[in-house]
């Protein structure tokens, strides 16, 4: 008998650190000095604020540079950064600093907000919440994902899980592989990159992958 999968969700509270950046130099100084939780909030936890629609840029730093400072070049450079490609948050921080420093070296003056809002450094205070929804089969898993679970479940198991060394590929793939023997589906889900998607977008991809796996099995059953 396979072990059931228990969906966990979370709720994010945003805590302001009382530190602001009015120009890109202050931004990079802030990035260098704030706690890692703050880097996490503005990169990975960005997804929690884009549940339905992916933001115009995939992290808060890029969004601020492009929209509030109106420096599209830096916005684009920061947008390319995929936080899931880095081993840890220190590496994400180092890359951000390097990108902004390089950019500033090429500028005559330091771009700053004129009409827009300053960048506010914040950190997430996230509470884990058990949903009480448990599934045992792939069909149940698919149905719960498709409609029954709060969207924060996707964040918790796909995004937040990756912070932990033994959950680098999220929580779903391991369960599908080890408990249900769904090797191909597990591999497909491991390869799913959240970059540039909204949480609903990720949910859609997961459900489609499950549908494909379930469809193949049904087709196979009919054929035999």
């Amino acid at each position: 008998m396979s072990k059931s999968f228990h969906f966990m969700g979370c709720w994010e509270l945003r805590e302001m650190l009382g530190r602001r950046a009015f120009d890109e130099r202050e931004l990079v100084d802030g990035i260098e000095e704030v706690p890692l939780e703050c880097i996490y909030m503005h990169t990975h936890a960005h997804f929690l604020r884009h549940k339905y629609i992916a933001g115009p840029y995939p992290n808060d730093f890029a969004t601020w540079a492009a929209i509030q400072v109106r420096d599209r070049v830096l916005g684009e450079k920061l947008a390319v950064l995929d936080p899931f490609e880095f081993v840890d948050l220190n590496a994400v921080r180092a890359e951000l600093i390097s990108l902004i420093d390089d950019h500033l070296r090429s500028m005559q003056t330091v771009p700053r907000v004129v009409f827009g809002e300053p960048f506010e450094f914040m950190q997430s205070r996230t509470l884990e919440v058990p949903t009480g929804i448990k599934v045992r089969t792939l069909a149940e898993f698919r149905d719960a994902l498709a409609g029954g679970v709060d969207i924060s479940v996707i964040y918790y198991h796909v995004i937040a899980a990756r912070r932990h060394k033994n959950r680098r590929h999220g929580d779903f793939a391991g369960w599908l592989r080890h408990e249900l023997g769904e090797e191909a589906l597990a591999t497909q889900i491991e390869r799913l990159s959240p970059y540039g998607l909204s949480l609903e977008g990720i949910r859609g991809r997961l459900v489609a992958a499950c549908d494909a796996a379930l469809g193949k099995r049904t087709a196979g059953t009919v054929a035999t």
Binding site: E117, M122, L127, V129, T131, G132
Partner: protein
């Protein structure tokens, strides 16, 4: 007022799974007490919000209650001036007023039983109560006002109270101040089941517009705002005039004079003067209670405008977006948090920019529909009262270490 809805009533409107999830979240603080204290129970956005939120907290298992300050005219007058000065107004806060505030606070503390696992004091008028806080319980100051550019004396006075709280909550990051206590960000939210936002039948909408004498023979542009310079009603009229040269449409301006703005009356006269020469401009002065009327106008509108040059959060944007309307808003304050440019609406920086986006939207029904659909979903996930409830439950769990 009709009975406030319960949590299950929101299943149809909140994102899938949200109500069950909120019930799970609430288990962490079930049976704990949460007392809200505000200045009044009527005539304010805070009161309107608490009327709906307190019953929802109770339904979620929290022992929620709400108290208001006893009537005290000298205190109320002083608190009003303090509030205005904190928002950067021109008022003068003298020593007599500060003493009236302190004395009013002491009197309120004697008359109220301010006690709870968590006590949330709303806005500057109530902030002083922290002076008499009991040793037990967590105290939170909830600031709804825009205190980003306060008069220095007013903030120095208020700060002595605020630092005695365990945490503060603001509606926008730029409202936050340098403080030694944790400061949280909680965006305001709309209630989709309130008279201002509930679904209306076509008959109700038609009847309401007929009563307000707004014909529906052409596209309607709408702005709902006080007549205040920062809401730029004259800029809206200018943008409408640019559009009108090419596209036949009506402009409806809903508002009232702003008693807090000395220029309010003059501005209102200017707006009326501008409108008097054009039968397609309608200036409607509606009472604060005319919620169904505003709802009907928003639903009848083709495009909703909020062309503010300075703005607090600007919840009228979320109200219109919830009704599936494309919004053209000024690049200011909370409007930029609600409108994702070119996805859930357009932010603009000039009269010409507003005119350009209005023309573009008037000429493209498919674009209006797409933006309207995405706008409604964005509000569903981010600006409904269910999210506000979740934030409060999470805050309780965090601060009470539950």
């Amino acid at each position: 007022m009709t009975a406030a809805p319960v949590l299950d009533d929101y299943r149809e409107v909140a994102p899938a799974g949200t109500v069950d999830f909120l019930r799970r979240l609430s288990e962490r603080v079930r049976g704990r007490s949460c007392l809200h204290v505000s200045a009044t129970t009527t005539a304010s956005g805070v009161a309107e919000m608490l009327h709906r939120l307190v019953p929802l907290l109770e339904d979620a298992g929290v022992r929620a209650s709400w108290q208001t300050l006893p009537a005290d005219p000298p205190f109320a007058a002083a608190a009003k001036v303090l509030h205005g000065c904190l928002q950067g107004g021109d008022g003068h806060l003298d020593d007599e007023m500060l003493e009236a505030y302190r004395e009013g606070t002491r009197r309120a503390a004697r008359e109220l039983l301010v006690d709870g696992d968590i006590v949330i004091c709303h806005d500057p008028a109530v902030a002083g109560l922290v002076e008499v806080r009991p040793p037990e319980g967590v105290w939170v100051w909830r600031c709804h006002a825009d205190v980003s550019q306060p008069q220095r004396r007013a903030w120095s006075f208020l700060r002595q109270f605020v630092v005695k709280y365990d945490a503060a909550i603001y509606s926008l990051p730029r409202f936050a101040q340098r403080l030694p206590i944790p400061q949280f960000l909680i965006y305001p939210a709309i209630d989709p089941l309130s008279d201002k936002n509930r679904e209306l039948s076509a008959t109700e909408i038609d009847a309401t517009l007929e009563r307000l004498r707004v014909p529906r023979d052409k596209a309607i542009l709408l702005q709902v705002s006080r007549f205040n310079r920062f809401k730029d009603p004259l800029g809206v009229i200018e943008a409408y005039r640019i559009v009108k040269k090419r596209e036949d449409c009506r402009l409806v301006l809903v508002g009232s004079g702003d008693s807090a703005d000395p220029e309010g009356e003059a501005l209102e006269a200017e707006v009326k003067e501008a409108a008097s020469h054009d039968r397609d401009i309608h200036v409607l002065e509606l009472e604060a209670e005319a919620r169904v009327e505003v709802n009907a106008l928003q639903r009848a509108a083709t495009i909703v405008l909020q062309k503010s040059t300075r703005e607090g959060f600007g919840l009228t944007v979320a109200e219109a977006m919830w009704k599936g309307k494309p919004v053209v808003g000024g690049f200011a304050g909370g409007i930029t948090k609600q409108i994702i440019y070119d996805v859930t609406g357009y932010t603009v920086n000039s009269v010409e920019g507003a005119a350009f986006r209005i023309r573009q939207l008037l000429g493209d029904a498919a674009l209006r529909d797409k933006i309207g659909r995405d706008a409604r979903e964005f509000v569903r996930h981010n600006f409904l009262i269910t999210r506000n409830l979740g934030d409060l439950l999470a805050l309780m769990a965090l601060l009470l270490r539950a």
